[in-house]
């Protein structure tokens, strides 16, 4: 089970003091923690959109980006932001409990990814064909938590035709979460239910043409959400950096959108669900 991670005022105070010291000590640097092997978000060659975004931020601040690389899995925030290895993580959900989050800079959705030549035209989570198609989903597994599609399909009794792909995968391979999209390409599964940025990016680069469709008809699975607003994360209490980043986001919305679109990230403007869309 994932314990809730609140903090005490004393700790927040200590962290704030540390953050101030760190900022002074790392003058001229935007210290970023990122996964070295997780396109389209980031990699050690700085080819992900979060890398590009970090470079934009640093240029705007007149700073240099310096990276601490850490696999983005359980313990990531603890070993990076909280360990004072860096000051910002470029992508976390808005309102993420483990960090202080900026204003969201994009909002995306879970998507169905299919081969174009199959002409499945899937978009509804209530499509009866989901009972027989071979569906791939990511598995997280920490504390029994899994991505929304795995939860929602289970609620409908769609179990035996579901195939799981570990979000962690084999870290020796490039971009382990991409195995899910490759499985659509090579016909191992008929459809992948994936987080939009991942599905959009790898579909764009697939040798076989793929169709990416936002997942709809998700309301009855609330409080599961299928759309999430994504923000940058700084250490709790680091309001100074958060405010600078907020100002950057406000001033660069169109550049950020262009960047995301160039990576194939499906963007959604407004919350679609009535119950889960209060963000």
């Amino acid at each position: 089970m994932r314990p809730r991670n609140s903090r005490t005022a004393i700790i927040a105070g200590v962290v704030l003091a540390l953050a101030t010291t760190a900022a002074a000590a790392s003058d001229g640097q935007l210290r970023v923690c990122a996964d070295p092997n997780n396109l389209p978000f980031s990699n050690s060659a700085e080819a992900g959109f979060e890398n590009k975004l970090a470079a934009m931020v640093a240029a705007h601040f007149g700073e240099q980006v310096s990276y601490t690389w850490w696999a983005q899995r359980r313990g990531f925030i603890r070993n990076t932001l909280k360990a004072d290895k860096c000051d910002v993580v470029m992508g976390v959900p808005a309102g993420y409990d483990l960090a202080e989050t900026t204003r969201p800079y994009y909002r995306s959705t879970y998507v169905f990814v299919t081969r174009q030549d199959r002409q499945l035209d899937l978009s509804s989570l209530l499509d009866p064909r989901l009972h027989s198609l071979r569906i791939g989903v990511h598995l997280i597994g920490d504390d029994g938590n899994n991505p929304p599609p795995a939860q929602a399909l289970g609620e409908q009794g769609i179990v035996d035709n579901l195939r799981g792909y570990s979000i962690y995968g084999d870290y020796r391979e490039a971009n382990p979460p991409a195995r899910l999209i490759e499985a659509v390409e090579n016909g191992e599964i008929d459809v992948a239910a994936a987080w939009g940025p991942l599905g959009g990016y790898f579909a764009q680069r697939s040798p076989a043409p793929l169709t990416v469709t936002p997942i709809r008809d998700t309301e009855r699975f609330a409080p599961q959400q299928f759309q999430f607003a994504i923000a940058m994360g700084v250490r709790k209490g680091d309001h100074a950096l958060r405010d600078r980043l907020n100002a950057f986001i406000d001033e660069h919305r169109s550049e950020i959108n262009a960047l995301l679109r160039s990576y194939g990230v499906p963007l959604v403007e407004l919350p679609v669900t009535a119950s889960g869309g209060q963000q």
Partner: protein, 614 residues
């Protein structure tokens, strides 16, 4: 060569030759480990003996002089992370291992057990790729020893044999792949020349196993998986489970939807016990994973299962599943303590398993029959154990499901007791149980994020159980099936226990106290405030000076783990600071540490400053 030839010869001798031996007797002549267990001066394995009693026959320290305990020497293992390891003491040398962190992860130190002088140290070379990939558990629960060799499990999935005299590496074998989320944290156990090792990482979709390695070569003798077809689980015609629901072919496949068993968890990161006479090893497996519960309908065998296996072949003789279709993350890797009890006028060979689910199981260790299963903690997530079917009775009202808010589930996810091992005294016939006392609210609201994948998970708010304390050290009578005494602790008691022939029991608290208590009534005899909180395993041995020593590692570490987050302090919760729900108050009591502490009795009348306040 001669020794290895002899090994083969001896293991071929039928077990019947050994039927007259007592529990602690050597299984075969090639191992000196069982003999060392008979020498009270030594502490040759993490659990002290194959029965996992953690009982020392030394009685120099007793209820009337324990208040004179004082520090003899200390040693730093160099890494301020969770110190769960048990030191070993063999022939006057102590062997300790550090967590997997810092410049020398999982470093091994050999010290003079009487003076603390460092004899040698060994640092394994971890795979560079492991950095950052091993996220969660950096603890190591201890080393093993047999025939002049020290055996080490590294977090990055290697078992290493060292020359106990020099620290020179003799062999190492890679058993798993850390890049796939597989790690090893348990202390190996050597039985009949085989080093037994289990894996961790079930939450990440690892398929659980226990593997036996030849202690001389590191070659893999057998591997028994916890899920999948019978041939992988090492189930054959000689498998005789007591209960009918566990009989049938390939249940490790059939009790899962489709191919879910392939990543089904059931890892083994706890304890292994061994009965030489029955020639059986015993261990429990962890929770099923990584699918959410609605994607793994069925009992999910053989997760949360106690196995009895033949150590020579690994073949299962019986099994018993504790939590079919586990919903609470209730691993059952907790120890199985092997004792003989007088029950209803009969001597029964039993194992005692203090369940994570809050029930104290007393089982016939020859057959796998549950003799009794009584709640030793406040439990409302289950309604008891049906002794006829052997099945636990779920409480549907307390079923945690994503999307559903359920309040006041007891015990909380870490269970009534986690890995922290108990101790058994053959003198008092009581089991000394360090454990937690936590309940939880389960709410679907927390946004999680991993590798670029957002999701809404459960917000788990853990808090003290009835009475307001979060931990307890208690003595349990398994025949009378009741608690005899208890000591409440502010924080969960996450250290192991030790009990001695001086009728003194030892344990440590997360708020830095190491305590000696009267084993008969729980009266606190002595306590010592250390540098950091305790989650380690106390041991006892005799030094070359003839003195009885007590040793334990201090170092609470692993902060954001379940334990550190499982705390709620009322004064924080109610403070007008804008923080609600479960709050980490552990930092009020301790920071991390890395200190090995060794105690002995001071001179008569000297130094009573450590006596507890009256």
């Amino acid at each position: 060569m001669l020794v290895r030839g002899l090994t083969r010869l001896l293991t071929g001798i039928p077990a019947v030759l050994c039927a007259c031996c007592c529990l602690m007797s050597p299984a075969s002549a090639q191992s000196d480990l069982a003999d060392r267990m008979k020498d009270p001066g030594q502490w040759p394995m993490a659990a002290r003996d194959y029965a996992n009693t953690r009982y020392s026959e030394l009685d120099q320290i007793n209820a009337s002089n324990a208040s004179r305990l004082q520090l003899a020497w200390t040693f730093s293992v160099g890494v301020d992370r969770g110190q769960e390891a048990a030191p070993l003491v063999v022939d006057g040398t102590m062997y300790v291992v550090s967590p997997y962190a810092g410049p020398y992860p999982n470093r091994v130190f050999a010290l003079d057990a009487t003076t603390g002088e460092l004899k040698w140290s060994y640092a394994p070379k971890p795979e560079p790729a492991a950095a950052g990939v091993a996220c969660c558990d950096v603890v190591n629960r201890g080393l093993a020893f047999d025939n002049g060799k020290v055996f080490l499990n590294t977090l990055d999935d290697h078992t290493v044999a060292l020359d106990a005299r020099t620290g020179k590496e003799l062999w190492h074998t890679k058993l798993g792949e850390i890049n796939k989320g597989e790690t090893i944290t348990m202390a190996p156990v050597v039985v009949k020349g085989k080093v037994l090792v289990g894996n961790s990482g079930g939450e990440l979709g690892v398929r659980g196993w226990v593997t036996a390695l030849d202690e001389n070569t590191g070659a893999i003798a057998w591997r028994a998986y916890a899920t999948g077809p019978d041939k992988d689980v090492l189930i054959g015609d000689d498998f005789k489970p007591f209960y009918d629901n566990l009989k049938g072919q390939d249940l490790g496949v059939k009790t899962w939807p489709a191919d879910r068993w392939q990543v089904g968890g059931g890892t083994m990161w706890g304890w292994i016990s061994y009965d030489a006479e029955l020639n059986l090893i015993y261990y429990g497996t962890a929770n099923p994973s990584p699918w959410n519960a609605n994607q793994r309908s069925g009992d999910n065998l053989w997760s949360t299962t106690i196995f009895a296996r033949d150590p020579d072949t690994g073949r299962a003789k019986w099994a018993y599943q504790i939590n079919p279709h586990d919903l609470f993350d209730h691993d059952e890797i907790n120890e199985n303590v092997l004792v003989d009890l007088e029950i209803n006028g009969q001597t029964r060979k039993v194992l005692i398993h203090p369940g994570r689910n809050g029930y104290m199981y007393v089982m016939d260790r020859a057959t796998g029959e549950v003799i009794s299963a009584d709640a030793y903690e406040f439990v409302n997530s289950y309604k008891g154990v049906d002794l006829k079917t052997g099945k636990i009775i779920p409480n549907e009202e307390k079923t945690p499901l994503v999307g559903k808010t359920v309040e006041n589930i007891c015990p909380a996810a870490p269970g009534a007791k986690d890995w922290q091992p108990t101790a058994w005294s053959p003198r008092t016939k009581l089991l000394y149980v360090p454990h937690q006392h936590l309940c939880m609210n389960f709410k679907a609201s927390q946004v999680g994020y991993i590798a670029g994948t957002p999701y809404v998970g459960a917000d788990v708010d853990m808090y003290a159980g009835p009475g307001g304390h979060r931990g307890e050290f208690m003595a349990w009578d398994p025949v009378a099936r009741k608690k005899v005494w208890e000591i409440h602790e502010k924080l969960p008691v996450w250290s192991g226990a030790l009990v001695t022939a001086g009728d003194v029991a030892f344990y440590g608290t997360m708020d830095r106290m190491f305590k000696a208590v009267d084993a008969k009534d729980g009266h606190v005899l002595w306590q010592f405030r250390a540098g950091s909180g305790f989650i380690g395993q106390p041991i006892s041995y005799r030094g070359s000076d003839g003195q009885q020593y007590i040793a334990i590692l201090s170092g609470v570490g692993g902060w954001p783990g379940v334990v550190a987050n499982a705390e709620v302090d009322q004064r924080v919760r109610n403070a007008a600071l804008g923080f609600t729900g479960a709050t980490q108050d552990l930092p009020f009591y301790t920071a991390g540490g890395s200190e090995l502490l060794v105690f002995k009795l001071g001179a008569n009348g000297e130094d009573s400053s450590h006596a507890p306040a009256k």
